[in-house]
């Protein structure tokens, strides 16, 4: 799969940066707005997919990218598990203990640990969908050769 023309490439550079920023915004503000980790993660992976479709396969070293995304995928869910376990040692004894102060509802820093979990699941969803898409594209390319 080779890249498209220079106009498409330039437009995609601008658009995918905007999509990326909106994805991060959506993941960080998940506890006060609609959106959250799932929508943010899918938006982040959509930005990458758009870039790859426009620039073609040879521009990115996709095999290394796949290894990086699978590392991110495992790492983010591991950190989320560790945070969930750390609730066992803070205060009462149960999993997913939300031991941070709740704060005033509606402000950015509120909701205890929920924003952190949101960002982590956003990274995980983005890495998973990117891994699946990269695997499909690499397979198609290897068949053609």
């Amino acid at each position: 799969m080779e890249g498209m023309s220079i106009i498409v490439k330039k437009i995609v550079q601008l658009i995918s940066a905007l999509i990326f920023v909106f994805g991060m915004y959506s993941a960080i503000h998940g506890h006060i707005n609609p959106g959250g980790g799932f929508a943010g993660g899918v938006l982040l992976s959509g930005a990458f997919i758009l870039l790859i479709i426009a620039y073609g396969l040879d521009y990115f070293k996709l095999k290394q990218q796949t290894e990086a995304t699978s590392i991110f995928e495992s790492l983010s869910i591991l950190i989320a598990l560790l945070i969930a376990f750390s609730g066992l040692f803070a205060g009462s004894l149960y999993f997913f203990n939300n031991y941070f102060p709740a704060g005033t509802p509606g402000s950015l820093i509120s909701g205890g640990l929920i924003p952190i979990y949101n960002v982590l699941i956003g990274v995980k969803v983005a890495a998973t969908l990117s891994t699946i898409f990269f695997a499909l594209i690499i397979y198609k390319e290897e068949i053609r050769r």
Binding site: N33, P34, F38, G106, T128, I132, L136
Partner: protein
């Protein structure tokens, strides 16, 4: 009740597609349609007429009725899972296409072995 029955008819269209189609991609599309109808059914059951979206804007006025948040939570996780598992089925499909050169499950069944 009409809405529930229509939603279930959408599910049945998916069942009909899975049973009668021979193309693997068509079977994946039918599975996706079945998943959509299940999501819609859950959200339909949780709807309260006159209710607001489950995001609290004014914490003081707490007697405003809100749509049930529990089905929406379940659907939120299920929607992402559905895409991942569907792409797993698609991966199997293109693997079969490379080996047998067709998406037709009946021909694959004959060529097998």
């Amino acid at each position: 009740m009409t809405l529930y029955i229509l939603c279930f008819i959408l599910f049945l269209v998916g069942v009909y597609g899975v049973l009668t189609r021979r193309n693997l991609i068509k079977i994946v599309i039918s599975l996706t349609i079945m998943e959509f109808s299940v999501f819609l059914m859950l959200v339909l059951v949780g709807y309260i007429s006159g209710g607001l979206a489950p995001i609290v804007v004014h914490p003081e006025g707490s007697d405003i009725s809100v749509v049930d948040p529990l089905p929406q939570t379940l659907v939120l996780t299920a929607a992402v899972i559905a895409v991942a598992t569907n792409s797993m089925v698609l991966a199997l499909a293109i693997r079969l296409y490379k080996k047998y050169g067709t998406f037709d499950i009946r021909k694959i069944n004959e060529l097998k072995g």
